[in-house]
């Protein structure tokens, strides 16, 4: 496959979040704002790219039957690295993402890519694949986070988006629910429906 296509397939056609519906938990939990979405997206992309790289390079060394445990091990290592690095250098983000950082280890996107792609393809394609998928994930999380942040908090990347009237104390009357749990499900639901529609239109 052409590498560009390989890279872009995760954007829409095979978007892991909006089309394949993988890794739903972190998607819902960490999309309360664009920056959280971006943070989670980057963390996952890092793990994805690194584990794809390692797995693609050692794929022939691993006996078939311990393939999956070996992959998990590689992934878990990178997850722990990300966990500690974030804790040390971006503690605020680390706190926001909480348990969802270690949970990257069971994320279907990461393992699925390792198993379905990196274990069969060259190092370069695997890295590109990792970047593409990671980018698609990040994109989806940021879209979700963007919608939720604008509607729910009246901000975008923390900057005020003045579309809501203010209350007596001058705070904008935002639609709070969007940064709470129900809002996450609703926005995600409609986004998936919309993506399906878009995808069908493109075909």
């Amino acid at each position: 496959m052409n590498q560009w296509k390989n890279f872009t397939k995760g954007f829409l056609r095979e978007n892991p979040v909006l089309v394949l519906i993988l890794g739903t938990c972190p998607t819902l939990a960490t999309s309360t704002s664009v920056s959280n979405g971006l943070g989670m997206g980057l963390a996952l992309t890092f793990v994805l790219v690194m584990s794809n790289l390692v797995i693609a390079s050692i794929k022939n060394l691993i006996p078939g039957k311990v393939r999956i445990p070996a992959f998990i091990l590689v992934i878990a290592t990178f997850v722990t690295i990300v966990d500690y690095v974030l804790k040390g250098y971006v503690p605020a983000l680390h706190k926001e993402l909480g348990v969802f950082i270690p949970l990257i280890v069971v994320n279907c996107i990461v393992l699925g890519r390792a198993e379905a792609y990196a274990s069969k393809n060259s190092v370069l394609s695997s890295i590109i694949d990792g970047f593409g998928m990671g980018f698609g994930f990040t994109l989806a999380l940021m879209t979700l986070g963007g919608i939720r942040e604008i509607l729910g908090a009246g901000t975008f990347f923390g900057m005020k988006v003045p579309i809501f009237p203010a209350d007596m104390q001058g705070n904008p009357k935002t639609i709070l629910i969007f940064i709470l749990a129900p809002g996450a499900f609703l926005v995600y639901g409609y986004l998936v429906a919309l993506t399906n529609r878009l995808k069908n239109k493109l075909n």
């Binding site: 519906i21 993988l22 069971v106 393992l111 699925g112 890519r113 198993e115």
Partner: protein
């Protein structure tokens, strides 16, 4: 009566026993992205069926297995619910005598051993409780 069905393929057929291979998929595999996510999400299991109405099967036949809902529920109770309750019971009673939590934890897990040993000893008796048929 509610019947549960599961497709399978005959792998071996004898006079009294038909062995049927089924593919058990995980909940995740019910989702359409199963191609992308392959973490332990499928397993083949071989099911022994004695009740097949004396019909002739040969390896490779596609068949549908049937089981009463009662059997399924009983399996869940015996396979998951009872051990769970045992574990919790051991934990609660144990907590009155054992104050070192680590040992308590070990004790509560280890009650499962006799349970499964008992199950093992009674396995032939249990056979009759899970009636699996081949749908005609």
């Amino acid at each position: 009566m509610d019947i549960i069905e599961h497709p399978g393929v005959v792998v071996a057929a004898g006079r009294d026993l038909v062995k049927v291979k089924i593919l058990q998929v995980s909940a995740c595999a019910g989702c359409h992205a199963k191609g992308a996510c392959t973490m332990a999400d499928m397993e083949e299991k071989i099911i022994d069926v004695e009740d097949f109405g004396g019909r002739q099967y040969k390896a490779g036949d596609h068949v549908t297995l049937q089981m009463g809902k009662g059997s399924g529920n009983r399996a869940i109770v015996m396979g998951y619910l009872v051990p769970f309750l045992l574990m919790v019971a051991a934990l609660i009673t144990g907590s009155y005598f054992i104050h070192e939590e680590g040992i308590l934890a070990l004790v509560s897990i280890s009650v499962l051993i006799p349970y499964f040993v008992i199950l093992y000893l009674r396995r032939d008796k249990m056979k009759g409780k899970f009636v699996i048929r081949i749908k005609s």
